[in-house]
Assembly symmetry: C2
Homo-oligomer: 342 residues x 2
């Protein structure tokens, strides 16, 4: 096990890498904590959670709603949970997002710890304090930014993770490489998905490296006034595609990154050879890079995006692999380019 501490302006997060679920027992009394998890996780790990207070939500992005949050709050009241309780979000990104959100608003804030169980949650969703729920068809439209006290990285969860979720998680890993770390990009080019699925040590190193990239960005800009925004690379088109076509998050972000790379080529002097490298790397890790989409439906959703500002959308472009920049692009300009990018 390896323990690190990450300091934010108003909080310190303790990270336990290469730990095990058993550590929860030592850290949190049964009386003063409650686990929020989903139906899939509970099926697999019910033995490890004997005697624990557990609130179960239905698995899946469709259940990341205010109604699910309300149901959790109702159960917390039934458990007589007070502000000193620790809410433990145990699951993928849907669970860690909703657990963080409930912890932020229940009684104006309880303690929070996260146990991410998917590649995506370990390398992205559980890191940095963003939480929230969807509102109708709009992703993450309601939520807060608030850091957990602890994050537990137990790599053994990955042994039961379906391959599709491994692939989806690698989209955010490739995103980190694209915007911040060309060495990581080359490292990923030299390996394959199977390498990481088969070698727990190698995967542990990859997770730590991605957590470090994300922390480096978000500790300097917790509330996304500048650099944190770059983490949205691929997410403007990605969120719209995810909502309309119901793709897994990483698959949609993959398509969004290809679109963003092409826009970077059109208006930011990004090399066409590097567009191809990104597209090749995504494909190598099993991610989609082409899909027939309806541009009108996508633009209609983008108008509601959190990244919109007036008639334009703040867009993340690449200067080169490992170096990103945010630029305002008008909806008109995007629509003019739609044949080249979608």
């Amino acid at each position: 096990m390896k323990i690190t501490k990450t300091a934010f302006s108003n909080a310190i997060v303790t990270n336990y890498f290469d730990t095990s679920l058993a550590l929860l027992k030592e850290n949190f009394s049964e009386d003063q904590s409650v686990i929020i998890s989903d139906s899939n996780i509970i099926k697999l790990y019910s033995n490890a959670l004997v005697n624990r207070k557990v609130i179960i939500i239905e698995a899946g992005e469709n259940n990341k709603t205010q109604a699910a949050a309300d149901k959790i709050i109702e159960e917390l009241l039934e458990l007589d949970a007070d502000k000193q309780f620790t809410i433990i979000g145990l699951g993928g990104g849907v669970v860690t997002d909703i657990a963080g959100y409930v912890s932020a608003i229940y009684k104006r804030g309880t303690k929070l710890s996260l146990v991410p169980t998917s590649v995506l949650a370990m390398t992205d969703a559980a890191i940095g304090g963003k939480n929230g729920v969807n509102f109708g068809k709009y992703k993450n439209m309601v939520g807060t930014t608030r850091q957990p006290e602890c994050i537990f990285f137990d790599y053994s969860f990955l042994s039961t993770l379906p391959k599709q979720e491994w692939i989806s998680g690698f989209a955010e890993i490739i995103k980190h490489a694209c915007i911040k770390d060309d060495d990581l990009f080359e490292f990923l080019e030299r390996h394959t998905l199977d390498d990481f699925m088969e070698d727990k040590v190698l995967m542990g190193q990859l997770i730590e490296r991605n957590v470090a990239i994300k922390y480096a960005v978000v500790t300097h800009d917790e509330l996304e006034k500048a650099d944190r925004f770059l983490l949205n690379f691929g997410h403007t088109f990605g969120h719209a595609i995810e909502n309309i076509y119901g793709l897994p998050h990483g698959y949609a972000v993959s398509l969004g990154m290809v679109a963003a790379a092409k826009i970077s080529e059109e208006i930011n002097n990004f090399h066409s050879a590097d567009v191809k490298r990104i597209s090749n790397l995504l494909e190598k890790y099993g991610l989609p890079v082409e899909m027939k989409t309806d541009p009108q439906a996508i633009f209609a959703l983008m108008i509601k995006d959190k990244k919109r500002s007036g008639d334009a959308v703040n867009f993340v472009l690449l200067n080169r692999i490992g170096d990103a920049v945010a630029k305002k692009i008008s909806f008109k300009q995007l629509q003019d380019m739609q044949n080249q990018i979608l």
Copy 2:
């Protein structure tokens, strides 16, 4: 007009005292702001709000719900409101609480300004960043602590305030005197409600003094780990009574303060003569000091109170007028005293 700035660890609040609604025009463009208000206020002030984006909620504590927040979020989406929008909460405590809550969670946080229109909102609810909604019969069970950018105190709103709301507001003013300011207590003893209702300058001074008391407490303890907790004087029984009997907030807090003063006499050496002084002052300002209540129903609700901690409740007691202290009291001890205090 007088402008002051109040610094919190993560925010600075600008306070405009003795200002007017016209100032909103100068400070907030019609394009980039939206007013949240209630049906009563809008009836009275619709002329001043011409050309403004306005979201109207039903007036009354019963409408301080997640459902009302969801409806506001829906309207914000229809208005294409983005994170740079300022939400302006214009109304009494229900409006400022719900506007603050929506501003905290919509797109993970928009700008927020408050225009309190009642005595209670000007001296208490709008100050200090607590926001939230009720959950079923449990008061303020969901919310956050987050400071507004600006607060506008326009005393002319008080000219249309019903007398019952004046009276309700004075409960929190008397509370401030009880826990922090014996000079203010004597000042209130020397005056009457009519003095303040008739003299806008005197009332303006009283509001400023109460805002200063509340800021002095909350800037040192924004997240209620210590001193801020004293502001809950009268609110443990008060919230329970408010929920069960549907009394206005200040009326219920008045009864709660009498109960807390009696407990202070029983177990904290608080003078019985001072219990009487508090009770007399509350009566002088039109507030109730006696009511037949059902102790069982009250204790059942208190178990769900945010201030509960295990088998005990954190209770605010008085040492003397102007000096309060928090003490844990077990439910059993409270129940043993119920004949003396309720």
